[in-house]
Symmetry: C2
Subunit: 144 residues, 2 copies
């Protein structure tokens, strides 16, 4: 998918420190939350960690939404008071939740490599979960 | 609604320069886009302009989504590499579209007051539209 996206959009998707993830429940009520995430090497999946608080994890609304409706949208953008510099990249896809296995471990490794902050905090490695977003479509926009 | 939100969350909602708006279509496919917006004086409505390109406006996916499903979610957040400074405010509500009338004019005035950039660009005043978000619930979170 991301093969179709322009280079600047891929770079923004790889390097941005925060994205905003939209899910929706079975009735169509959207929820949008800021998320840290990491793009995989092939540019097809994005991973976002849920930290290691199992009880809270099970109750987390974004996870309930994904269980009920796997379709998601994630946006990464740059705001600037000079509006000629505005740009954003939207990833549309579906999400599922990884809690173990090789891909889960690789996703955690990528998240820790991108965000050293995880080394100081509860990591998702043991009791947490990783949201895997499989991109179906990428929409890239910039001014002009 | 916003009467229940803590003061820091109201201030963030009032002052932030960009929010991210999630809509969903009738099938539950979410869409999230960065938006400029202005909060009204009573803190109950948020307004976001669609610029003055009528043909494009009618085709704009966020507007089609709102017509099919008025439920929306908007997040305003501050990212910081010091994760103890993370914070966000989520507004949940419903949206409709204003294209004329007193409230439309007041909304445009508030948007222009917050964003002087609109003075240099096509304003929504004549042929555009303003998305009005009526907040039903505000969720405020900060670290710790």
């Amino acid at each position: 998918m991301t093969a179709d996206a322009p280079a600047w959009a891929l770079a923004l998707l790889r390097d941005a420190r925060v994205g905003r993830l939209a899910t929706a429940d079975a009735t169509g009520q959207p929820l949008v939350v800021p998320v840290c995430y990491a793009l995989d090497a092939d540019g097809r999946h994005l991973y976002s960690a849920i930290d290691a608080k199992p009880k809270r994890t099970r109750q987390l609304r974004r996870l309930r939404n994904i269980a009920a409706n796997p379709r998601v949208s994630l946006v990464v953008d740059e705001y600037d008071e000079d509006w000629t510099r505005l740009r954003y990249v939207i990833v549309e896809g579906h999400a599922d939740v990884l809690t173990e296995g090789d891909e889960f471990s690789r996703a955690v490794d990528r998240l820790v490599a991108k965000y050293p902050q995880y080394r100081q905090l509860a990591l998702p490695r043991d009791s947490g979960a990783v949201i895997r977003i499989t991109a179906n479509r990428v929409l890239a926009w910039r001014y002009g």
